[in-house]
Symmetry: C2
Subunit: 397 residues, 2 copies
């Protein structure tokens, strides 16, 4: 016991990676509210309001809408563990780490995975998805990532629910990096199951995975021939805790639920449309600024996420050194690439609370100074001028 | 969006159920430290210190010691998902909800479960466990609950590691309600895998599941013939994030890890032996006081947990009404019974921060007033006098 452990003093970072995003002080304050029991009348009230708030954000009337007690990936597991059984045919769109991850998780459950792949940075063409559904004999599920966090590509998904249903499949959407930043229309798009996280577009700390399941999905869950492999993620049992019965299943992370509640309340106050506009406007500014710095987007034109710019690292630059300088000098976090994009891209996110003019201005200014200092030829002032033009254009529109 | 959601105002509860327990204000303050990224140098330092602190609390040198990103049950899932494969023979001790839960979870993974049962409130005799290991052809795992939260029974487990190993099995211990309250000696007892939670003896908010795995357990994990069914709980992948490689797997719940860090720091400052003594002394007081109120323990004599008193509800009393009065008049949470004990017992916990003289005094006083008010014959003042005698006796010893 002689070892001493220092007081916590994490840096006051500006979070401009693909998540976590900055957290509003109101959320931190709510999170520090007194802990009560997981069946306390005061917590039950929070649970009910959380379900209503999540339905607003997911744009759904789905009864089964709640936060899973784990981070975003736990939402993915909940969906796949409950919807997939040994031998089920599953069609999965894969154009980055997060599509690949779904295929991995489904494969572990004994699913026969039909991969519909596209090169990293590109979207997956709807026709190819439909062809894969047709080629599968009895597709149980179509699964795809809405906002591919590893590439910055924005997958069109509006028609996939109807297409999946035409082929007798359920439609599962990964909205981890989209929810709260761009429209996610669960009911309108006929999405049967969707998962997200708290630390991106919602801007609470990481720790919960909001999910929603349609009646069609729940019918499939109830019709399973084998029990859900997971006790922790078993929807049948979780439903009895989050539903009217209040049967103890596990102890919900009380303070994380407080944080999510306040973050969702802030979203409801701002309004979804206003929030999406804010993301679009700041995206136009940061993308213009990055282009003025000579940084080329990695994702296909016309399908770039407004909340996450993924840009190629200029030749000859040590990308990790740039990120280290951003942290050391300016307390700014951006992210590097994953898998085949490792060392090749930067991922600069303006998600939720992080999508603000001052943050865009700061990161563009800091990047300009660091890149100049490394001998990259940068037109001084061009990035901020370009961002400024973009903001003025949206104000005039 | 016209619905309005109120500001969070959960009651300032004194938490004297089986968990969550009260949280030290230092922990709440640490939890509200700035959120940084899950690969930030400042967070990596917290991760390393967390592993060292958890090794102190678990009394182990196990390299693989970290908090799983989910509540206590997620620790159980991590252990079973990684240690159990289809067809494996598993011996499980069952004398309450939490032993039953392990059998359920193992069964979902295709294990052949050998149940060693005892009546609720009793411990499971070591001889019967050994006989079950012998009867199983190739037992892969022996699993048991250390502190059965549904009954208050304190299972002897000191020799079970050696016994399991003699029969070629691994030893898995559920320390959800024991860690931080009574000794848990991972290395000395030859425990191969152990899981706990943050919201009981450790007194952080719920949200993480500390786990530890021996080299023997990790060898079994690496020798699996089939992949872990769970992507989220796959130890091989989590190990690469929590180990030196820092390969992204999922986004850790940053603020929960801050909270756990501070809670463990408080434990290290107090010292484990002093902490166990505190629990024993307050347990003697509350158990004497409850006896003076005429409340009979549900667990077998000689095997009652010091941190959780489970007592029978007197005949003719509406137990839920008593709990409701405790909340309404005194802001105190205690718990009712689960399963066959529903309506029949109260569970009064003095775990971690909740184990303090003032809390014991308050709950005994409140219970005396409420029971008297319901017409139960209670010797006025006897409970506090009995508690006082118990404290004086330990002070004199």
């Amino acid at each position: 016991m002689a070892i001493s452990f220092p007081e916590l003093q994490p840096g006051p970072r500006l979070l401009l990676g693909p998540g976590p995003s900055n957290v509003n002080p109101r959320v931190m304050k709510a999170m520090a509210s007194p802990v009560v029991g997981h069946l306390d009348v005061d917590f039950v009230r929070v649970m009910e309001d959380l379900k209503r708030l999540l339905r607003i954000v997911f744009r759904t009337a789905n009864e089964i809408t709640f936060p899973v007690s784990g981070t975003g990936s736990a939402g993915m597991e909940t969906a796949l563990m409950n919807l997939v059984e040994e031998g089920d045919e599953v069609v999965i769109g894969i154009a980055g780490v997060f599509g690949e991850r779904m295929a991995d998780a489904a494969g572990r459950l004994g699913a026969r995975v039909h991969r519909v792949e596209a090169p990293w940075g590109r979207i997956i063409e709807i026709e190819r998805i439909e062809a894969a559904l047709k080629a599968a004999k009895h597709p149980k599920l179509l699964a795809i990532v809405h906002a591919e966090t590893s590439t910055g590509a924005w997958q069109p998904v509006e028609n996939l629910g109807a297409i999946a249903h035409r082929h007798g499949a359920l439609f599962l959407l990964d909205a981890v990096t989209s929810l709260g930043c761009v429209p996610v229309e669960i009911d309108h798009w006929e999405v049967d199951a969707c998962y997200s996280c708290t630390q991106k577009g919602i801007s609470a700390p990481p720790g919960l995975a909001p999910v929603t399941f349609s009646e069609r999905a729940m019918a499939a869950v109830r019709a399973r021939k084998t029990p859900c492999r997971s006790w922790y993620f078993d929807l049948g049992m979780i439903e009895r805790y989050w539903g009217a019965e209040r049967v103890y299943h596990h102890t919900a992370p009380i303070t994380m639920n407080y944080a999510l509640y306040e973050a969702l309340r802030i979203i409801a106050e701002e309004g979804l449309e206003a929030r999406f506009s804010r993301h679009r406007e700041n995206a136009a500014a940061i993308q213009s600024g990055l282009a003025a710095l000579g940084l080329e987007p990695a994702a296909q034109e016309g399908y770039r996420l407004p909340q996450l710019a993924v840009v190629k690292v200029p030749a000859g630059i040590d990308e990790a050194a740039v990120r280290a300088e951003l942290v050391r000098r300016y307390n700014i976090e951006i992210a590097g690439g994953l898998g085949p994009f490792k060392g090749k891209v930067w991922r600069i996110g303006t998600l939720g609370e992080s999508s603000r003019r001052e943050h865009v201005t700061l990161v563009l200014g800091a990047l300009e100074m660091i890149l100049s200092g490394m001998g990259i030829e940068v037109a001084r002032g061009a990035a901020l001028a370009a961002a400024d033009r973009a903001w003025r254009a949206t104000a005039a529109a």
